[in-house]
């Protein structure tokens, strides 16, 4: 009961945000955070069961690039393009996932195989630079001025805010649905002991594949949304090892075993980067004539230190850690750590 009131209050605040005079810039930040939160939530759906993928940059890039390429070259509306991109990334997830799960590739071997997948997709994008623009990035063509429902494009931030909010909410609902499903028990059992759970009749490969495909499809959708909103994608902004690591780390910081963990991770990491960028700037700070410091690297540096500290001192993330303090330990997530 109490929970419902809290959820309703938060929902009302989120829905009324554009009307209480939030500026264009903060609104932009919130939209970006919501889209990334959805991607992070998608990752944590499988990550919380010890399936640590470093290949989600690949799914995100597939989502963004396939949608934009179909729109520019074939003229196919994103309404059809996005489902195609999602299906394609689901297929890629099966191609990589099935043999991995069938042949028991787990732990950091799984992480490294998926890492190779991110690199494959990034290199393919760079190699086909004649169509995709390579490292220079790619822009979907504008379809008229202002709103275009056909192209899912908009100059209007408020409209996009509501779309992003809805997408994010759906992400949380999916996370909760997985959390309540039988699949969760199966996957936790698999994580604890793969052989034992197979012996009692858990379909190991099947269960793992299901959650992997769901996660890949969600991430591809986030990539497509990012592309539709930013109207610019490049291998470094939505793909490759950098983005794959960014996804994992934001979730670790926020908390991997809670529905809101990935969102909290997105808020903290993206706000931190933004605050540091504005606060310190990207100019060179010169101490003497010869020694100049490049402030653009500071966010990366602080981010790195934060991650190491989190993994050593607070492996359940901020949300998990706070909940432990509050309710006492052993309430959030299984005893094992990711």
């Amino acid at each position: 009961m109490n929970n419902n009131i809290v959820i309703a209050a938060i929902g009302a605040i989120l829905l009324s945000l554009p009307f209480v005079g939030v500026d264009s810039y903060p609104l932009h930040l919130i939209i970006v955070i919501l889209i990334w939160s959805f991607a992070y939530t998608g990752w944590s759906i499988m990550g919380r069961f010890g399936l640590v993928s470093l290949g989600h940059g690949a799914f995100m890039a597939i989502g963004g690039y396939v949608t934009a390429l179909l729109w520019n070259n074939v003229g196919l509306t994103p309404w059809i393009g996005i489902p195609i991109a999602m299906a394609l990334s689901g297929v890629v997830a099966v191609i990589i996932g099935y043999p991995c799960f069938r042949f028991r590739i787990v732990g950091h071997y799984f992480a490294l195989v998926t890492l190779a997948l991110s690199e494959v997709v990034r290199q393919v994008i760079i190699a086909t630079r004649d169509t995709t623009g390579g490292s220079l990035g790619y822009t979907p063509e504008r379809h008229g001025e202002g709103w275009s429902i056909l192209a899912i494009q908009s100059d209007d931030r408020v409209a996009f805010y509501y779309i992003a909010l809805a997408v994010w909410a759906v992400g949380i609902v999916i996370w909760k649905a997985v959390d309540r499903s039988m699949a969760r028990y199966a996957l936790e059992a698999i994580w604890e002991d793969e052989d034992a759970s197979a012996a009692v009749g858990v379909r190991v490969t099947h269960e793992k594949l299901k959650v992997t495909v769901l996660s890949a499809v969600m991430t591809a959708f986030a990539g497509a949304m990012y592309c539709q909103y930013q109207m610019f994608i490049s291998p470094d902004t939505i793909g490759g090892v950098g983005i794959s690591l960014q996804i994992v780390f934001a979730v670790v910081v926020g908390g991997i075993y809670n529905a809101l963990g990935p969102t909290v991770g997105a808020v903290i990491t993206l706000l931190l980067a933004e605050v540091l960028r504005i606060g310190i700037g990207t100019e060179n700070i010169c101490i003497t004539d010869k020694i100049c410091l490049n402030a653009a690297g500071v966010p990366l540096l602080i981010y790195g230190v934060m991650l190491v500290m989190f993994i050593i001192f607070l492996p359940k993330g901020i949300v998990g850690g706070v909940l432990d303090r509050w309710r006492g330990p052993a309430q959030t997530g299984p005893s094992k750590q990711p």
């Binding site: 950091h108 490294l112 393919v124 690591l245 690297g297 050593i312």
Partner: protein, 295 residues
């Protein structure tokens, strides 16, 4: 088809194969230290390439700004990466020895961002070139081979040899091999595992420095150079069987030949795609690595 066979028997294809072999030397040297650390400490240093990057900066600044001869600068570079290797272990890994492997991997990933950020803050994002070239060996009118790469090849082969002899013949080497076989029993036998881990991390760091010295001769240094050869280094180690020194050495040549042959018939990027796809396929067939002994 005729074009394809022509291409196959052309003198340039021979050059490609030789260049692939020489690139393999570079990759083998890169993966050696990572492989050793993995085999003994059982931790994947995702930030290994960033340690190499800092070694390259050390050499660059000592040689270009301070005017110290390249050889001595390289020695200092190795010293710096050795210390970095020690610090990575003592400051981060030491506290995570009992944590899940994935947590260890993620912590070193955090270090990757930290080292990249530090390099960016301290040195900016310019590309810096050491400006030293060892020239090329002219085999025939059409074939030029870079001396740096030949040196890389020789040093990589030499380092593998030295490491092999060290591990199989010396007392310390025996202890290191024993600890990688059973890390619970060894402390009970009165072996100080902490010291051995530190020693291994230092050797791993020193090998990173050696790789840095040779890379500095061939590539420009910038804070993100680690990302361009970091992933491939892990894949080589995994393909050869993590911790298997000889396997990693051979896998480096498989990778380099795939990259150069792919680059010969299409773009270099397709060479990388080919190598990565072969890597993924290999993992499905032999998850413990190509050269792992059946246990």
């Amino acid at each position: 088809m005729a074009e394809f066979t022509d291409a196959l028997f052309s003198i340039f294809f021979v050059e490609t194969l030789i260049n692939g072999l020489l690139l393999g030397g570079v990759l083998a040297l890169l993966s050696l230290g990572l492989n050793l650390v993995f085999g003994v400490v059982d931790v994947v240093w995702i930030c290994y390439a960033e340690i190499i990057m800092l070694g390259m900066y050390t050499i660059y600044f000592l040689h270009v700004d301070a005017g110290i001869p390249v050889i001595i600068a390289a020695g200092c570079g190795i010293a710096v990466t050795t210390i970095l290797g020690l610090l990575v272990h003592r400051i981060v890994i030491h506290y995570l020895l009992d944590a899940a492997p994935i947590n260890q991997l993620l912590a070193t990933g955090g270090l990757l961002f930290f080292l990249q950020g530090s390099a960016m803050v301290a040195f900016g994002i310019e590309f810096r070139n050491l400006g030293v070239s060892l020239g090329s060996l002219i085999v025939s009118e059409d074939i030029y081979l870079s001396w740096t790469r030949i040196l890389c090849f020789v040093l990589a082969a030499g380092s593998v040899g030295v490491l092999y002899v060290f591990l199989s013949r010396s007392y310390l080497g025996a202890a290191i091999r024993a600890i990688s076989q059973d890390r619970e029993i060894m402390p009970l036998m009165g072996v100080d595992t902490k010291k051995l881990y530190l020693l291994t991390s230092a050797i791993g760091g020193a090998l990173a420095g050696l790789a840095a010295a040779l890379l500095a001769l061939q590539y420009d240094v910038h804070p993100f150079i680690g990302l361009s050869f970091g992933p491939i280094t892990f894949m080589i180690c995994v393909m050869g069987g993590l911790g298997n020194m000889v396997g990693g050495f051979l896998a480096a040549f498989i990778f380099s030949e795939l990259i150069t042959i792919g680059g010969y018939f299409a773009d270099l990027e397709w060479g990388y795609v080919l190598a990565f796809v072969v890597f993924i396929a290999t993992m499905f067939v032999r998850p413990e690595g190509l050269f792992a002994r059946k246990s």
